[in-house]
Symmetry: C2
Subunit: 331 residues, 2 copies
């Protein structure tokens, strides 16, 4: 297992990146919460290689439960991996940051992001490598301007790298976070998601590394302004009830459909770090239906029928400077 534990340029850079990003995000979330702080659990995989830093926040002023986790793990390629991940090779290395934040206030959306890097080895050499990641938003009440701001932030990042990215990754995201057992209802209003991006001639490893870094830090630009705008909206028991019903859908997606969660749970991953994604309090009512014409029904409708959040005309008019003025940059 020597190969998987030795360094190379991209691996080393990636490990620094995810830990720096973890620090930056935790610091900012603590600052805005003003009450709760992250508690860190370091864990090791034992007989297998590597481990992680799980950081959880709970019962804050704003954040009811959240985790910002990093893991740097490696090992021998197993038969299960060959089958389920469809990979060859002898050893593997994977490192990533994974984040889920569940706010108290139903008017503040839940958010998830994940950025990961994978290497495969044969005969002691890197035989393959790829990048994946994304960020998606799960509101309980729909504010169109928030959805547009969130998508616009990632579109702008994408456009700096490749104009084809945003439409592709937006669609991949809409197609992935789907409760197929609920008439293809989406988990939320999406964002971007990309996977298995292997370095090519033009878009080499440095390119994908840069893209992941830009997307990773954009999390703060994309999410924090929404938190600040919605955190003080008064809410009542009915709003909370609806949030908990929708959190049930989040649980359903993560446990029934999310490949990473299921693979982790079935292959001896660290359960508590994987399931930190689950919301703190949840309701499962039989056949719950929001009232027709209500804000709750509007949210459900948008999850059933994802839409384009960027108005192309506006976008064409907006240059990078204008976009920068609109976004409350935080890093």
């Amino acid at each position: 297992m020597v190969q998987t534990n030795t360094s190379n340029k991209f691996k080393d850079q990636w490990i620094v990146f995810i830990h720096d990003l973890q620090d930056a995000i935790c610091k900012k979330l603590e600052a805005i919460d003003g009450k709760a702080t992250f508690i860190e659990d370091k864990w090791e995989r034992g007989a297998d290689g590597g481990g992680g830093k799980t950081r959880v926040i709970s019962n804050g002023n704003i954040f009811e439960k959240g985790g910002v986790n990093t893991s740097v793990v490696y090992g021998e390629v197993t038969d299960t991996m060959r089958k389920q991940l469809k990979i060859n090779g002898e050893q593997w290395f994977a490192a990533g940051l994974s984040l889920v934040i569940h706010p108290q206030n139903p008017f503040v959306p839940t958010v998830h992001c994940n950025y990961r890097y994978f290497e495969l080895y044969e005969n002691g050499e890197v035989a393959d490598r790829w990048f994946g990641g994304g960020t998606d938003l799960t509101p309980y009440y729909l504010f169109e301007e928030d959805a547009t701001h969130f998508h616009q932030t990632y579109k702008n990042i994408c456009d700096q790298f490749d104009k084809a990215f945003y439409p592709e990754f937006k669609k991949t995201c809409d197609d992935y976070f789907v409760n197929t057992h609920r008439n293809n209802e989406r988990r939320g209003i999406g964002g971007i998601f990309y996977d298995h991006k292997k370095p090519g001639e033009k878009q080499d490893a440095a390119f994908w590394m840069g893209f992941a870094k830009a997307c990773g830090y954009a999390f703060l630009d994309a999410y924090i302004p929404i938190v600040e705008k919605r955190k003080d909206i008064p809410f009542n028991e009915q709003h909370k009830y609806w949030q908990e019903i929708r959190r049930g859908r989040y649980v359903e997606f993560n446990l029934v459909h999310d490949r990473g969660t299921i693979f982790g749970l079935k292959t001896n991953g660290r359960t508590e770090s994987i399931l930190m994604s689950l919301p703190p309090t949840v309701r499962f009512d039989y056949n719950y239906q929001p009232e027709k014409g209500s804000p709750e029904a509007a949210l459900q409708e948008i999850c059933l029928h994802p839409k384009d959040w960027i108005k192309e005309n506006e976008l064409d008019k907006m240059d990078a400077d204008e976009w920068a003025r609109r976004v409350n940059t935080t890093c």
Copy 2:
């Protein structure tokens, strides 16, 4: 699809049985609850064949959420079925009763039972048939006498049919309801579970039909006395908190591991009827650990290490009459 919709002796008997049992159980549960009544949703599979009667109860004095469902469904054998269920044949028929009850009071256990019958057809003839079923108990606080009573009730039924059944079906149950991702913690204290029981020379279809009927009606003997004994125990917020944490484990098992749930959700089953099994309110805390030496820790310990609830010596001494006196027969 004519064959799957025509009658035969066992199919007809089974359909009558599950609906009679549904009526009997709902009636008894309503009587003991004293407030809530079951609401029935009849549904049809549309283009496919058959449908069901979903009966749900909620916000009762005793029962916070529950469902007692029957379904009678049939259709063509699909590729998915061939693969996942490992069956051949051209048409299939399945009918069953499925029940999950989540009480308000954390001192009253959750209970699940399911009895089902399956037929496969080739060339218009029944080519194969089998029976399956079981009942298992999920307490939040352990009362050893309740666990013993529950297991004793089913052991006595089993013994009337075959002395080998109880140990076998108890083990099958302990081996099935397992959160493998939580150090093989069981969902509860078990019960009995049997599957794919095909009629043989001695134990013919009438035998298995009789066994399912005896087990099905034993539900009331097994569960109601426990409800009556525990329903008025005062509980506080801490007890409820623990119940909701444990309900989280119930959700994890049902959505991550339960073959029936996952198969149903991924093959266009009726989602609301399948997910009626999920508890009404649930908590997912990061790395929740009960206090050492507490009643909560004792419950967790018994889920990690299933035990034999029947003391063989006592049992040898107990004849059927004595057992009958001990059990508060309800049907």
